[in-house]
């Protein structure tokens, strides 16, 4: 086994910060400390910094996206028109959302003129409910076509395990269809049993296994074992 590389000063500081924060959150979850300071409150409020970090990453993403597509437009690269649509959609929707949406900065019209909110509001509603929702639901519904054409190829009775999976999957699919109950009420009873008994057993195993893995990985990271 290769010897561990010696850490630089910055790496030591970073590792100390990782251990301190990890240890602090683990302790405050299990041990209640309210005097002299409420540690739980400190831990909860500190989580707000996580949002600040995520927002920073988000801002970097927007800046990067803008730079790439702005250059595409400027240099008239291939498919530059799509870049134009992207930039227009990104900033157009953002501006409309700031003026008139559930995320509006000034929904009561103290600074932004009320007439502007009244003009933008139906535009935003159209773009959101009639364009965005329709596009996203259409894309998502395409899954039905993939499933229909892939299921009969993927579900094959190759081995004993795959046969059990196939039978269970088929019974759940059939049980999920409301018309199946009119054909035979037993379909939904079987589906219910599969969901509540074997599925629950399997899901519990996955959940507990995943939770233990997270604990193990976190401890390893805190003590720089991995």
């Amino acid at each position: 086994m290769a010897a561990k590389r010696k850490m630089s000063r910055w790496e030591i500081i970073l590792q100390a910060a990782i251990f301190t924060v990890g240890f602090f959150y683990a302790v405050t979850y299990y041990v209640k400390v309210s005097e002299p300071i409420d540690l739980q409150m400190v831990a909860d409020n500190s989580l707000a910094y996580l949002t600040a970090m995520i927002l920073t990453a988000f801002a970097i993403g927007i800046i990067n996206l803008t730079r790439i597509h702005w250059r595409n437009i400027k240099l008239r690269r291939a498919d530059w028109k799509f870049s134009l649509v992207l930039i227009g959609s990104l900033y157009g929707m953002a501006i409309f959302s700031i003026i008139a949406s559930p995320f509006a900065l000034d929904p009561r019209g103290f600074i932004i003129p009320s007439w502007l909110i009244d003009v933008i509001s139906p535009v935003w509603n159209f773009l959101y409910y009639n364009v965005l929702v329709s596009i996203n639901t259409s894309i998502f519904s395409l899954l039905a076509f993939f499933i229909a054409s892939a299921a009969y190829r993927a579900f094959k009775i190759r081995t004993m395990e795959s046969t059990i999976l196939l039978i269970a999957g088929l019974l759940v699919i059939i049980g999920e269809a409301p018309i199946s109950d009119l054909i035979w009420p037993g379909f939904s009873a079987i589906q219910n049993w599969i969901m509540l008994v074997p599925n629950t057993a399997g899901q519990r195993g996955i959940l507990i296994g995943a939770a233990l893995s997270i604990v193990a990985f976190s401890v390893r990271r805190m003590i720089r074992y991995s």
Binding site: D44, G169, I173
Partner: protein, 277 residues
């Protein structure tokens, strides 16, 4: 290794699927939908809450994006409609960025009756982080100084009556994934024993069954079918459009099942034929 893959042109299957989905929708056929235990549990909990503890607080969390509108939006509509016909107070929040806009769409789709904004219900909007989710359990005003309409929450009678989220008698999340149910289980249900329910798409519902079995959640509404079942329970068939989609859903699910059976029959026959040679 012998290759036994079934190389079938998928286009006729796509066409067949379009037909079995479109025909029932166009013909507006309605099918009775048997109510599952998981859906009935949500309905009965809310009904009992209104009877035993009228004017209790219910928090609805819209934790899904626009792509999940077909599965979760009908659920949100029917549950909100039930809540608005009962003597209960409702606060709307969202852990997903699309949630506040979808909340407005739900409120536009239902009959609000005599319920007044600020008194019987309020829309607080987006919960940006776990700190807010945790913090609002003890002080809503601190973490939501204004609602989505720009009103100071301190001026809303519903917030004056229920200044802390932990006073809620039920929190229900319509969730497309994370953040969603897990946060409420971890930070609301476990420490404060707030009854929790979930509306989930079909793909996520199996993952929530352990929590239903252990009674950590009072009930689960599963996919559009859950909404269709609820329409029958609240006697408002057609409210969310879920019931009218059930024939199409049944037909498409049966089509998939038949294709799987046919595919496997062909696979077995081919395998036997090759062995025979």
């Amino acid at each position: 290794m012998t290759k036994l893959d079934l190389d079938v042109d998928p286009r006729p299957i796509y066409l067949l699927l379009i037909v079995v989905i479109a025909l029932p929708i166009l013909s507006r056929t309605v099918l009775p939908v048997p109510v599952s235990n998981t859906t009935r549990a949500v309905y009965e909990f809310i009904e009992n809450l209104a009877k035993t503890r009228p004017n209790s607080l219910v928090i609805l969390s819209f934790d899904y994006s626009t792509s999940l509108v077909p599965e979760l939006h009908p659920q949100a509509i029917v549950v909100t409609q039930q809540l608005f016909t009962l003597p209960l107070r409702v606060i709307f929040v969202a852990q997903w960025i699309d949630g506040p806009a979808l909340t407005d769409a739900v409120l536009d789709a239902i009959d609000k009756g005599s319920k007044k904004y600020g008194v019987d219900y309020a829309t607080l909007g987006y919960i940006p982080n776990i700190a807010t989710l945790i913090g609002m359990t003890t002080n809503i005003q601190q973490f939501f100084p204004v609602d989505t309409l720009g009103n100071p929450t301190s001026s809303l009678p519903i917030i004056q009556q229920f200044p802390a989220g932990k006073q809620a008698s039920l929190v229900m999340t319509f969730t497309g994934g994370e953040p969603g149910l897990d946060n409420y289980l971890q930070y609301w249900q476990t420490p404060y024993k707030i009854p929790t329910a979930v509306g989930a798409p079909a793909i996520s519902a199996p993952g929530y069954m352990p929590f239903y079995n252990s009674q950590q959640i009072v009930g689960i509404m599963i996919s559009m079918r859950g909404a269709a079942e609820y329409e029958f329970l609240i006697h408002q068939v057609g409210l969310s459009g879920a019931v009218s989609a059930m024939v199409a859903q049944s037909a498409s699910l049966w089509l998939v099942a038949i294709l799987v059976i046919l595919g496997n029959s062909a696979y077995v026959v081919r395998k036997a034929t090759r062995r025979g040679r």
